[in-house]
Symmetry: C2
Subunit: 133 residues, 2 copies
DNA sequence: ATGCCATCTGTAGCGACTACAGACTCAAGC
DNA sequence: GCTTGAGTCTGTAGTCGCTACAGATGGCAT
């Protein structure tokens, strides 16, 4: 069986999640408090799965609260697919809004850098842009 | 003259910057501590300009440390244009990297939502994607 | 016995604000 | 003169998602 007990360091290695972060997730109730072998936390295969889930959801930009919700929905079987979809769709809107924001920044910055390189402006084009809109 | 003394509320209104944030900027030394009229902070036209500068730089995504640097360079005259350009160019790289990150998220999310809408998968496609990569 | 690494708990720090509580100042209305 | 209300003051603590310690144990190899 692949389900032998591992320590926190091994869990960290398998999931790519920092040890301090794992303990943090436990503290805030995102990961369950595992049994102890002596004083050391003892994890099993389920924990590797759950933590991997958390990490991938985080990589998609879900907040920890959203991850918590996703975990709940994942546990509640397939009836919840619509709810998962809605959560994802609303998060997708967030992501798109942030992309739009960043693209606006990008345009302005790129324009200023170009103006700087052109060197027409008597002062500094970016400073100029920041001082008066 | 447009340089009459205004209170913090008016400064807030003119710059669109939260009152608490203005005091925060003063605490961390980004804005100078203004003179007082009685106990109340008394600002002038320069402060409106400086705070506007800060706010616009923040809108372009510069960190407060970068803003501090930009303020220093802005004060030091036009010799510093090259330095400003470098700061902006390096920040532009950051912004582009973040856009790339978000676009990756967007692709995955949009794909999952689509898969959900298609409804082929027996389980939930997003949950599925999160559980196994 | 001695190293040495891993793990433990608990606390504080980051960035950039934001949100109070509880005191005060000031001008206007009655 | 007295009250009311809006504005301002200081100081502290909370947010999010970690990250970084300090200082104490645990367990194994030499």
């Amino acid at each position: 069986m692949a389900d032998q007990a591992i320590q926190i360091g091994e869990l960290s290695r398998r999931t790519g999640c920092n040890i301090e972060t794992i303990r943090y997730y436990e503290r805030i109730g995102l990961m369950p408090a595992p049994p102890r072998r002596g004083r050391y936390r003892s994890y099993g295969g389920e924990d590797v799965g759950r933590l991997g889930f958390v990490r991938r959801a985080r990589e998609l930009g879900f907040t920890l609260d959203e991850v918590r919700a996703l975990l709940g929905l994942a546990a509640s079987g397939q009836a919840s697919c619509a709810e998962v979809r809605d959560l994802a769709a609303s998060h997708l809107q967030d992501v798109r809004a942030r992309i739009a924001d960043l693209k606006r920044m990008e345009r302005v910055l790129a324009g200023s850098v170009r103006a700087c390189d052109a060197g027409q402006d008597p002062g500094c084009p970016l400073i100029h842009a920041l001082y008066a809109v």
